[in-house]
Symmetry: C3
Subunit: 236 residues, 3 copies
């Protein structure tokens, strides 16, 4: 995990950038899939559109099936009250449920606690209420039925595993506590905390090159030429 000082510097440095910019940096650093978490999209403050963005370290919560109650650890009190300020709440429910593990009251509490936003590898509910309170929520989909009947919050601050299937292939991602989440209308990216400072170092060059390419293309130059000129000269 990053020290509080480094973390603050990293988050501040990343705020001007988009999830795509950070994915470009992670790709250049050979990080698998550029850190993209497929299947999770913006549901609030708008559905898949608008300029909302969140940047912050992940506070992970791992849920387990109710069948594991008594065998697996269980969080004492309500997990939501333990969310640290300036963090992104990152919820990992079991994949094979259709319950919505997150709703309006949770967002109201997070706002009070000074958190940054919510990412759910599952379903949210109270979608309109989330939007009315302007709280950023990224999720796989909506639902109506609370999670309690299917699963329980078992552990906080542990690594969580996500799976997504596309074209018959299974994509796996591990989110560690303190990994930096950046999420916007294009999706959710997780920066492993060990790569965060490196990302901060190279992302400005990449974005500068892209902006130069875009300007040239708008001026009528070919992409072939402008990529050679601006991306070809990158030193990272």
């Amino acid at each position: 995990m990053l020290s509080p000082q480094v973390l603050k510097r990293v988050v501040t440095a990343l705020k001007p950038y988009a999830s795509c910019d950070v994915a470009d940096a992670l790709t250049r650093l050979k990080h698998k899939g550029g850190g993209f978490l497929p299947g999770i999209v913006m549901h609030s403050p708008q559905y898949q559109e608008g300029d909302a963005k969140i940047v912050g370290p992940a506070h992970t919560v791992k849920f387990r099936h109710n069948a594991d109650k008594g065998f697996a650890p269980q969080i004492e009190g309500h997990y939501i009250d333990k969310t640290p300020s300036d963090h992104v709440l990152f919820l990992a429910p079991p994949a094979n449920i259709t319950n919505a593990v997150y709703g309006e009251i949770m967002s109201a509490r997070l706002q009070r606690l000074g958190a940054v936003g919510t990412v759910i590898a599952g379903r949210l509910r109270d979608a309109n209420e989330q939007r009315q309170m302007n709280w950023p929520v990224f999720a796989r989909g909506v639902g109506t039925t609370a999670g309690g009947d299917a699963c329980f919050p078992s552990e906080m601050g542990v690594a969580v595993e996500l799976e997504h299937t596309e074209g018959g292939k299974v994509f796996k991602n591990t989110i560690n506590p303190g990994d930096i989440i950046i999420a916007d209308a294009n999706g959710v990216v997780a920066i492993p905390h060990g790569l965060a400072e490196k990302v901060v170092e190279i992302v400005p060059q990449l974005v500068k090159a892209d902006q130069a390419c875009l300007k040239d293309v708008l001026d009528g130059r070919s992409v072939t030429e402008t990529f050679k000129d601006h991306r070809g000269r990158l030193q990272c």
Copy 2:
């Protein structure tokens, strides 16, 4: 099925509530999945947002593959003309087609007939036209190609089965004619008609407890405490 008088009372009583409230009541009544029908989302009057809501008894229509023509029953005349007023048209096409079994003309007819809205366990078409006529439609997705080439309306007023796969698990739901449908931006819930009066009885208490929790949380109390206070005292 409920008598017309009871039905009217139930629908009127449920109108102020959200699909999530009803799912909470059904969960408390031990009804599987809180009645949620996963995979079907609001497409009209807006796409996955806005305050539109429908409440009413299901008028089911079961479609079959064209290969079954001649062997399976077939509805005489056009099924849409037989939709009773104050009902939600609930269409169940075969799962393994990509055709859109429902379009603009159907909604125009339903409006005239005094129906309440449309739920399709499949695809709709004429999405913009549905929105322009402010007709509520919930569906799995959009499409361009009419259903006639793939399937036909075989029976009305019969039980229909829905399947949805999530995280490798198959979720099955049966909708019986007269089950009460409540659908909004969070999704679609089906109340078995035998549980409808019980839902009406307990949903106000649950919502009152939730509102008290939300108020407390907005005032800065922890969720742990406020849940203990308000949800812990519920008598249902």
Copy 3:
């Protein structure tokens, strides 16, 4: 492929119609699935809503996995610069990747080149930027990570194959270069170029019949009667 004169006439003739109208014509011509390409939806200029529509011949680009580099053909220079004016760029990346093979700079270039719009059998990125430049993009979903790490543009102007699974059934579609693409809020339809003139011939009759049906239904007639009157008399 159609001659430039015929192509121009076909595209002009189709512009007033919707993807659904064209799918109706293709269904009547016994073309499988009415030409619908399931799973690809409008992402820009708006997400799944609004009146945007594109009509034009497909300029196909087939991507291959990076593992095939050196064995498979590779396009020299950047493929985007070779997109012909008045065409729809049709990108076919491998199905089993989560990378976004298309972004803002590509749209800026296409606008300059006088193309018509973009269809991606995969993910786009820079969703908001696409909307700001009012560029029409249809895709399977959004993403953050550029395609270069997973695949490369291998061939242009070749047949491309799409797969989509629904209800356990695999739907396959082949898009040939020069097939006419028509796409709007209901989805994407591909007209095989050999059927394009036939579609132009019959689509006005179908739409006229539908408009007559809609008018009658709004006037209170049954769908049974109005379909018999207007659709039953069609000569195509």
